[in-house]
Subunit: 128 residues, 2 copies
Amino acid sequence: MREVSRGLHRFKDIQDHLAISRSVLTDRLELLLDQGVLEKREYREPGQRRRYEYHLTEKGRDLYPAINALREWGDKYLADPEGPSLLVTHRGCGAPVHTRLMCEAGHEVTSEEIDRTPGPAARARAAA
Amino acid sequence: MREVSRGLHRFKDIQDHLAISRSVLTDRLELLLDQGVLEKREYREPGQRRRYEYHLTEKGRDLYPAINALREWGDKYLADPEGPSLLVTHRGCGAPVHTRLMCEAGHEVTSEEIDRTPGPAARARAAA
């Protein structure tokens, strides 16, 4: 998923970048296709047989806030002394990007300011 | 971690809520203590021996944005037809809370508007 989200869409390119075997990468791509976070798109270069590129679906793109939040946590607690290995910035203005908890009224919220209440599916699970 | 973050701090309370064996819970708590996301605090009830409560550390609380982002992703793609099993709201104003990507200039950012560049530790890894 990391390779695809950074613009590597073709099997050979992804394989070269990860330095893993053909069969391991095939298994991983199958899993991600089955889960609906990647999709295949056909392409054909002149004189070659039909091949597939791998692209993130909306379901895959929607994982990005979680991935970014884990990356930030890792940068704070597990990074090398030099600092993070990846800088993430807003293309529009160049400022660093962070994962924040925001309420729909526009307030930034800390984990201590959160109320949790059972939702519509909670009763079904308790009864099951 | 879920139980502790929702206010269950004592071994017996956590065990009853999870319905798992004493040894499984002991192993899980040891792992979370070793990783520094939980800490032990002593307490003693009258006539009882000394016992410990389990609390989140700052490192543990800082995982919340990632956990919340995964919960939101699950609500969108994996929830029961009735809807989510948990509603998360801002205690201050009651509005629903979401995980957002924000840049330091205050713009909300989508995963398509992000630039990734190698950080200070990137060279070390490439050379290793």
